[in-house]
Symmetry: C2
Subunit: 221 residues, 2 copies
Amino acid sequence: MNRPFHYETVDLSPEELRTEHEVFGGLAQEVRELAEACIRTTVPTEVATEVRDEVARLTARLRESMIPGSFGVNLTSDGAVRGHGNAVVGLRNPLAVPLQIQRSDEGRAWADFELNALYEGPPTMVHGGVVALILDQVFGEAAAAGGTPGMTGTLTLRYRKNTPLGRCSAEAWIDRHEGVKTYVHGVLRDAEGTETVEGEGIFILPRWAREASEGKPVRFE
Amino acid sequence: MNRPFHYETVDLSPEELRTEHEVFGGLAQEVRELAEACIRTTVPTEVATEVRDEVARLTARLRESMIPGSFGVNLTSDGAVRGHGNAVVGLRNPLAVPLQIQRSDEGRAWADFELNALYEGPPTMVHGGVVALILDQVFGEAAAAGGTPGMTGTLTLRYRKNTPLGRCSAEAWIDRHEGVKTYVHGVLRDAEGTETVEGEGIFILPRWAREASEGKPVRFE
């Protein structure tokens, strides 16, 4: 089996998994809050300069020991997937909201989440590209939930209305399969439940991954 | 003129603009580096816990004085646009790469940039949604550069190959206009210059903004 990139098998004890969530997940959450404060702060220059220099010192401490490159995806020996570096759902990734996506076996995925100043495009509105970032992940997880995970082949989104920053939700479902292609539809809704963006994605599973997954639903740890 | 959301006019002296870049832009850059280290660090739990608590203290300092809500878009009294909170190009936004987009008057926009572990989807690869996030902004700036800025109406992307993390570039250009719609095409390229994703966007200018901009190219500060 020719895997084009690296999936590492890493088993964590329940205690280690709890630490990963509380300490490293907690660290990422604090950095998300720091990041949002960077946009909105109006503290005096001297304070911002001190904070800037303190942040650099903290980064140096974390860099004392690091994996090379990027997080990748960890697999557990019983076949679960741990994507803690992922840009949308990653527990350890301060850019990630992170979305906590729910899934059902028939190929449906959904999430409720809050988008703050970090995700702004037009004033007070969610950036159109952030909508695409989130829907790509939710569409892909619907495909995976139905036992046909894949890489994004095509993504088409229609923006019907602006989406105000604040509470939002996303939902996606498998529409049909054609050979190796899984067609997914989905929507973004604002805090009122109004559909603001809708569209579809085509997800295609590489041959090596088809052979490895044997059509089993993907389990996330 | 009925503006659906807030654009504030804020004039900064050259000295204040320099401070904004060095101090607040510098702070955002340090937080980007801290965020990337969060994903890759393997320091002991005790160190990560200390860093987590230090980050919370720094956030509290920045929060001593903040604007409410989100950054929005500042306009200068001579008509330039300052989008320092923007999720893709914002100087103050640690989620933003930030892209430094170049533009030409005939409606072309392009940028070279580096994507690290923060932007990962499949192991070692750029997240498909991150590609969409970036292209939405570059497509929109091509429309704006040609004097027809707009909100994203439709975004369609075709993913031809995986895009490895590392150096990338994006380019977009106005294909045509149809009434209030501007059709933009564009591509993402990997470090080798290979096109990995291509697609198009339709950008539509709200009436109030058409009246305000009078077809002038948008200048960014």
